[in-house]
């Protein structure tokens, strides 16, 4: 697309982010999940993966899918500043996606976590990878987090014992609609990193190759009988 003066003014200023080094995690099923940064040219597979879940009200998949769809589109079309997308792929098939945004040197803004493959803590691993990127790779001091589903609240707010900053509203206000803001500080992350975050680096060439081309899932536990 031509980047004319108008387009330049529509795009947010970007900071070049350090890349997230890929890793591989052997899930309980024995399957290997490669976690890596998604590339812009993979937007079709990412959007195509999220789209079917827009119609699933259970466990708030609908709202998470709609928002993640817009976040991925905004990232692709340069309408969100400093966003990154991590993807978990098993034999190339997308098992989960996380979106997030680097705000400034000290702050990250966690956006959404979408688990496609259930029962193997794929979402938990990807959320931990997202926090790893924010704090260990990008060097931020804290990440602001909200939850839109009870399951999200149980997984992040309770399991990570996130700091509740909702009383500091409106000074502390997450970008997602002003719902109560919780915070993962570097101190909290240091306390939980070893029990929440894992993965082997460097990833072997064979494993990297398995995740080179992202494949949209053909089965969704959230959508029995789904046909693409």
């Amino acid at each position: 697309m031509a980047i004319d003066d108008m387009e330049k003014k529509l795009r947010p200023p970007e900071i070049v982010l350090k890349p997230y080094p890929p890793k591989v995690i052997t899930l309980a099923s024995g399957e290997k999940m490669v976690v890596r940064e998604a590339k812009r040219e993979e937007v079709g597979a990412l959007l195509g993966t999220v789209y079917p879940l827009i119609g699933v009200p259970s466990d708030y998949y609908d709202i998470v899918a709609v928002r993640m769809y817009s976040e991925i589109l905004g990232w692709y079309r340069y309408r969100v500043a400093n966003e990154f997308v991590l993807v978990g792929a098993i034999n190339g098939v997308i098992a989960g996606i996380v979106t997030s945004r680097h705000v400034h040197a000290g702050l990250g803004m966690s956006l959404h976590t979408m688990t496609i493959k259930r029962g193997l803590r794929v979402g938990a691993q990807l959320f931990a990878a997202k926090m790893e990127h924010h704090i260990d790779i990008l060097g931020e001091d804290e990440v602001w987090i909200v939850a839109e589903s009870p399951n999200g609240f149980k997984r992040w707010m309770i399991e990570y014992q996130l700091e509740d900053r909702s009383s500091q509203f409106p000074e502390v206000r997450h970008e997602l609609g002003g719902v109560p803001t919780f915070v993962l500080t570097r101190k909290l992350w240091n306390a939980v990193r070893d029990i929440k975050c894992t993965g082997t680096r460097p990833v072997s060439d064979a494993d990297l190759k398995s995740a080179e081309k992202l494949i949209m899932p053909t089965e969704y536990p959230q959508l029995p009988g789904f046909k693409r």
Binding site: L27, A28, G30, K196, T198
Partner: protein, 399 residues
Amino acid sequence: MAPRVGIVGIGHTRFGNSSEYDLADVLAYAATDALQDAGFLEHRKEVDQVFVANMASGLFCHQSAVASSMVSRLDMEPVPAELVENGPASGASAVKLGYMAVASGLADVVLVVGGEIMRKVSGWNATDIVSTMLDTETEYNMGLTLPGFGGMFTRLYMEKYGLTERDLALLAVKNHDNGAKNKYAHIQAPCKIEAIADGPEADVVNNYIAEPLRMYSTCPVSDGAAALLLVNMDSPKAKLFARKPVRIAGVASATDTHCVHNRADPLQLNAVRIAGEKAYKMAGLTPKDISFAELHDAFSILELAISEEVGFFERGKSYLAVRKGETAIDGRLPINTSGGLKSKGHPVGGTGVSQVVELVRQLRGEAEPGRQVKDPKYGLSVNFGGFGNNVVAVICAKE
């Protein structure tokens, strides 16, 4: 002579997350399934008695009187209905009461339903609610939880008998293999030993819950319900049902000290042993006659300890049998063919009924391919209440 009591209908929901549903609806779903299975749905007002097993709907769902609520959902009024509560052994206690109602001559047809909705609250709240079954003064108020007890019991067993964390992981692999094939199981996913015990990421993938118990040594928090239709096999009514009965050959329960610290040896589960002995005696059987068993593995260690108390293995030796595959589906004594609480799930008030449903499915030869025991004759279930303070054993026989 007391009449013979048989099971002619079974019902079950898929265990997992049903937190968006009302508990009475989930119970009614399982009950309808059982009535349909027996070909008795149209005659449901002819049921003489309903027992509903539930542990803590007041705490989990802010809901009480679920027995009458469920009866109303099924348009079964004026059939009498009562709630049965015995912690996580509520389900098998309801089976026992159903058996007693028929055997006493008070009823010919009894509907037993058990279930729980636990996932309306967080996992931590669920753990807290379940822990209210502990002794208030000396256990609960001191911060003890069921996983805490499970962890301490496991540590003691390890030190005394040489059990390792890897042995516990082997149990998870076995039970998940079975659960992956069970259409009712909460977690229908096999797991691999290299991923949950041997691999470099195992510490996080299979994290500690209450050391040395890890996630794959601990049951999930589940919603769900199961149901049975019991009949007097010697009554003319027995001919009304579509299914051939599976006979309840033995049912017995026993208690132990409510406070675990009052036991001479905390590794000895006296209530399990006594309930098992009484059930064998009633059935005229010995442990060697049992073809397969459903044992209450809320924590994997309990599968081992219970299997020893009911006479399947010498004390401290059961894990060696697991290493040899003796309790796998193709082993000499398959245990937790349903996936057990670990994989099938553990909606506390429903588990005891669900275990008996599995006995019936196996004895009818209706388990899914790959987890059907070959030509079983007798199945044993043990439903464990409290930390072993109120236990129920049931033996079912193929007729």
